[in-house]
């Protein structure tokens, strides 16, 4: 009975957080969000982020967005929420802009169903479309010099609801599958404001996203020291439909995405994690040609976790990592089109394990760079993440 009550309570909290945090899931994090379908968002927790972005194949990693099979063997209902804060500074065409944002990139929960089955559900950010460009100038109207500010802004993005399940085969193998229901919306506003009491000119249009995708994965632990995990997601189209009487729909092929990872203990207190990702965004190249096109994206990532430090009886894992990758969309601006954008980052973080693993808090920090001279923009960023997870056992 107590177990049932705890589970129900967790579910209520998840619903609460989902409702309250939903609009912030895709808050802005980069000027590059104006390219193609936006900036891809990695729904990952702070532990994975500290290990360079390896979000699967980690020990005791039941609450993973990357692979539904990770929830196989979850001992009790669990819930994980991640809070993320970004600061970025971008240089382009001799100018510099900066900004900061905060958001929830990931909310995910898992329930054990019997001894072999488990159920996962969650909400994660997929594409960030929050950006704006602005200019100030002066118009000469008759004999009046009128200061103006022109602005194009985009707010919104694509997120996904996840419903998945996992089945354990023996003690070291689990398989999982899930359904991604894509959702979200974007509003574009173009306008001009005047420095005097003229009526501003503003026009907006908005559209909603929908679509279904599928994900399947496998996790294999051949020995206590080694875990392997792989997942693939694909399927369907992402439909963008304008929120007006015309209801014009545009469809984009959802990319095939592959995630693989491995972790191994190389010492009594040292874990090495490696991972790679691939997303076949080039299938949307034609549809996005007017916005700079699209290419396949990939990333390689890795990190080390060292858990020799303890605070009392509580382990404090220390993590470092890094990653390199290619983003699928260009920086879209007027004038000359820049080259494709790459990204690299160094990562690190700490964890705090409580109640023999029933609850944990993880913190990560990331210093990264996107773009470069060829891309027309160089963007440096600091990213801080805090994850809290509980298992109701």
């Amino acid at each position: 009975m107590m177990r049932f009550m705890n589970s129900r309570c967790l579910l209520l909290v998840l619903v609460f957080l989902g409702i309250s945090a939903g609009p912030q899931v895709l808050s802005a994090q980069s000027l590059l969000a104006n390219g193609g379908l936006g900036l891809p968002v990695e729904p990952i927790d702070a532990r994975g982020a500290a290990l360079g972005g390896v979000g699967l194949a980690l020990p005791n990693n039941y609450l993973s967005w990357a692979n539904p099979a990770e929830s196989g063997g979850v001992p009790a209902p669990g819930l994980l929420a991640t809070f993320q804060f970004d600061q970025f500074s971008a240089q382009f065409r001799g100018r510099e802009d900066d900004g900061s944002t905060a958001r929830f990139p990931l909310l995910i929960g898992a329930f054990p169903l019997g001894s072999n089955w488990s159920l996962t559900f969650g909400y994660g950010g997929i594409l960030d479309q929050n950006w704006s460009i602005e200019r100030t100038d002066t118009l000469l109207l008759g004999s009046d010099s009128v200061p103006i500010t022109d602005r194009i802004s985009s707010t919104g993005g694509v997120a996904a609801w996840r419903l998945g399940g996992a089945y354990t085969l023996g003690s070291n193998l689990s398989v999982g599958a899930g359904l991604n229901a894509y959702t979200g919306s974007v509003e574009r506003i173009t306008g001009r404001r005047f420095g005097i009491n003229f009526t501003p000119a503003e026009s907006s249009t908005s559209s909603s996203y929908s679509g279904l995708g599928f994900i399947g994965g496998i996790r294999w632990t051949p020995s206590e020291a080694l875990t392997l995990s792989a997942a693939a997601s694909a399927g369907g189209t992402l439909t963008s439909e304008t929120d007006d009487s015309l209801s014009i729909a545009t469809e984009y092929d959802l990319p095939l995405r592959l995630d693989v990872g491995a972790s191994g203990r190389v010492g009594s207190n040292t874990l090495v994690a490696l991972g790679a990702s691939f997303a076949g965004w080039s299938t949307a190249n034609d549809a996005l040609a007017a916005m700079g096109g699209a290419r396949d994206s990939w990333s390689f990532k890795g990190g080390i976790e060292w858990d020799a430090i303890q605070l009392g009886s509580r382990p404090i894992p220390v993590r470092i990592g890094g990653r390199i990758g290619a983003l699928p969309f260009r920086w879209a601006t007027g004038g000359e089109q820049g080259d494709w954008v790459d990204e690299s980052a160094f990562t690190g973080g700490l964890g705090l394990i409580l109640a023999e693993g029933a609850a944990r808090a993880d913190f990560s920090v990331e210093r990264g760079t996107r773009g470069g001279d060829a891309a027309g923009i160089t963007e440096d960023y600091w990213r801080y993440m805090l994850s809290v997870s509980v298992l109701g056992r």
Binding site: D97, R135, I148
Partner: protein, 419 residues
Amino acid sequence: MSHISTIHRGLGALLLLGSLVGCADEIPTATGGDLFPEGTLPVTIELIVPASAFLTEDTVYTGYTSRRDADFLLVADHFDGVLSAHALVRFTDFPDTVSVTVDGTTHKDTVFTYGAGQVTAVVDSIASTEGPVLLRLWALTQEWDEEFVTWELAEEGVAWEEPGGTRGTLLSETIWVPSDTVSGDSLTWEVDSLDVARLSRESPGLLVTSATPGSRVQISDLELSVPVHPVSKDTALVQEISAGPQTFIVTPQPPERGVAWEVGGLASSRTVFTLDPEQEVPTCSPDSGAVCPTIPLSEVTLNAASLILEGVPVPNGYRPIHALVLTLRRVFEPEIGARAPLGSVVSVDSAAASLFISGSEGLVELPVTQPLRAILASDSAATMALLAEPEGSTFGIGWFKPAPRLRLIYTLPLEPRLP
């Protein structure tokens, strides 16, 4: 049990995280005009539309108020070389008895004498020419009827023996010095006790004139205060004598406006006109010289609109001395004509007095952005009234050329692009 408390702590932490989400959130903004994709920068155009393109009808109505509704008196001496005005006043209700209270006992006395009195008024310096101005107070020797009195007529069918009021004795004179540190803008005429006694008997009243050529002074109603000495008591009481009719007479009569638009004046003239919202506006600046397609005004964003009025000199000394407060109101049921009801003020601005001086040129731009937007939204012609308010409170008349222009500043339709 410890696990349950751990869960509760974890839930608390999650809720705390939820509250942190709103801490900082801003859209990343890149600045620079060169970052805008081609064709996405808004285009704003200024267009001056002639009256022939937007004005379908205009009429001047007048006579809503008259000299009797004015809350001021006018005194002038050949203002603008032409206009003269005299103020007339009759004091009534001089007392028959005087009550004196001594040691708590009130005595009534029917026998008393008047001392030297004072006639006072206040100058509206904003509505007057620059001083100093010599103002004279005369005794009138001919009866007058406030209903019919004019510069030439004292009563209906009875002319003044002397046009402008038949004067008797010069009772007093005073000099108005604007912003005088002692008197401010107050006027005081000292009146001899014998003159006061004469006034208290049957007298046609007083006349105020200006002896400063070129002056035009607007003053408040006159007040008379006199000391009264009861014969039986060694004391004096100051009595405020109630004024009877007060008015002013002017020569010459208001000028004919011809085709000009007219507002203000003692008759509260207003100009009523109809705007046609069915306008096509170009999609490029007229200054560019390019030929470009047009678009209905209703399809652009109207950033600003103003009615450009060009002042016309007003002769005969009837020009305003201070700025006229121009207002624009919607006219409901314009087919009724002069008595058509007006809506609330939709635009207000002031027209400098210099607009109406001979030899000067000037424009006034009356903002009409909001009313024009409302007209465009209703998609039907709208009748507006141009007034000088508050009505009846200004002597000066405003004239404008009957071909106002409409200044439009609009931004062409914007088309945000979606991914």
